[in-house]
Symmetry: C2
């Protein structure tokens, strides 16, 4: 039987990736720093992958055939330039090498659209791979080295470049979560011009894409996005329409960042070589996100 080790298994994407892997017949082993969960046909392992030797012990005890490596520093407002990116790059190299040397066959790793150069006006699959952030540089570095490592060792590697995921469990300061929470709580929230076009994908679809990549044989780099761009302002107004509110989302209250006007995934490879395409339309994803924040805001804060 194929056994997959999932890192970052309690994270925003990871928690949604476990069931799709179980459905695909994998013996699913999930690693998490602290919370040991139960159920869902998943075996949990406590491991802090930033600790020296933790990756090697974990791999030795699980002996996975497949690896889905999602763990990384992702704290809002911090991860773009956190020195922890160096630690995650180093420990990811350790993990993947330990995995291969223990007989692992296929590794799927989370990349980012921030591997591209964002200094141009449009970020597309044609943009140079010249990241300007420590986060983007560290992910891009890992990808480049893994390509060579795969070529030399025969390890099958797929790299899933994530665009703009949203949905239940997203960090509350990120843009879609902040808007949904504001709307649900009846509070006004300010945003930039909203003219920037981004590729938003509902988190269940992102997680499904990674499960599909684990089960597939295709190698190389894959854009994990919807393939469709939407102006951020349009998405936020749609969110208000769906909630039946108005005036809570304040467009133009903040300056625009110096970022590309358009960042949209190229999904041809995911459809053709992996057989994956998104299932949750944007409206439906936004509705579910609002519902999730409604349930949370009805609960008293602990």
């Amino acid at each position: 039987v194929n056994r997959v080790l999932v890192t970052g298994a309690t994270g925003f994407i990871g928690r949604h990736a476990l069931a799709p892997l179980v459905e695909r017949g994998f013996d699913v082993h999930a690693a998490s720093r602290a919370e040991l969960r139960e159920g869902g046909g998943v075996t949990w392992h406590e491991a802090d992958l930033l600790q020296d030797g933790a990756a090697a012990s974990l791999v030795a005890s699980v002996r996975p055939t497949h690896l889905l490596h999602l763990a990384w520093c992702t704290e809002y407002g911090v991860y773009w330039s956190s020195p922890e990116n160096l630690a995650w790059l180093a420990r990811s190299l350790d993990l993947i090498r330990a995995f291969r040397e223990a007989g692992g066959r296929r590794a799927v790793v989370a990349g980012t659209c921030a591997e591209y150069d964002w200094r141009g006006d449009i970020c597309s699959a044609d943009a140079p791979l010249a990241p300007t952030t420590m986060y983007g540089a560290s992910k891009n570095a890992l990808r480049q080295v893994l390509e060579r490592y795969a070529a030399v060792t025969g390890l099958s590697v797929a790299w899933g470049r994530i665009y703009f995921p949203f949905g239940p469990g997203e960090q509350p300061c990120r843009v879609v979560a902040a808007a949904a929470r504001g709307i649900v709580e009846g509070k006004r929230v300010g945003f930039s011009s909203g003219r920037q076009v981004r590729d938003f994908l509902y988190v269940d679809d992102v997680a499904e894409a990674f499960a599909a990549l684990v089960a597939a044989v295709a190698e190389g780099t894959f854009d994990v996005g919807s393939g469709t761009g939407v102006a951020l302002g349009d998405l936020l107004q749609q969110l208000e329409r769906l909630a039946g509110t108005s005036g809570l989302v304040v467009i133009g209250a903040r300056p625009d960042r110096d970022e590309p006007t358009r960042i949209v995934a190229e999904t041809t490879r995911m459809a053709r070589d992996v057989g994956w395409s998104p299932r949750v339309p944007l409206d439906e994803g936004l509705r579910r996100t609002l519902d999730w924040w409604r349930v949370r805001s009805e609960r008293p804060l602990a």
Copy 2:
């Protein structure tokens, strides 16, 4: 006083870098895996940087203001595609971060001309940074991440891209060493067409360049080469001429590798921003290399 920690201090380049650093007034601390040497005004530390936590302990005990990081896997015929490159990349990230977090101010790191794409006919400073080997990819990855880390933390970083060093102590299977040894021992040695133009630099000059980089303030990437290309065949024939032999260097006995016809350093930045230029002419370097092999070949092998 400025204190420099030198890794790879018993290596081909490292051993020649210590005296120039002492001359520049540094309190020199040298790290080596096994051999603890003495003298020369250098303090030696035993450290296997590939061991978990070794970098952090070393930095904590030395508390250097400057770092010259030369250690890496360099075993002839192996290092281009050794999985050890992943370990060196990971441990280098750990080392440099530990160095910075302990108050380190300036790090100088050994890069390689193999960071460039060698698939073109000419490899120059204009070539894309798209390494095709695991060694080149790992060094290039480290460079890219350090650039971002430097920008965020204020660490002063200089990256010295090494071309083709030669001289006493070079690994015996590398091209100039193999020729010198063959000539000295009166044995024929076969080479490729020799038409490839490379930038050869005597190892003392390479080491001087790194010492100069440590003492300088200029940041960014620097080519460490002579700036002059010489066809390999011409260099080998020159070696025979200097030795007064003939027919021992056999040109055309081996196929050419699929590598650029020309790989030559761009030394403007080293001259202008670091004040360094090569001091040992090619002939003199070749003479000293022959002398070194003569002394060795007179000794019986242990």
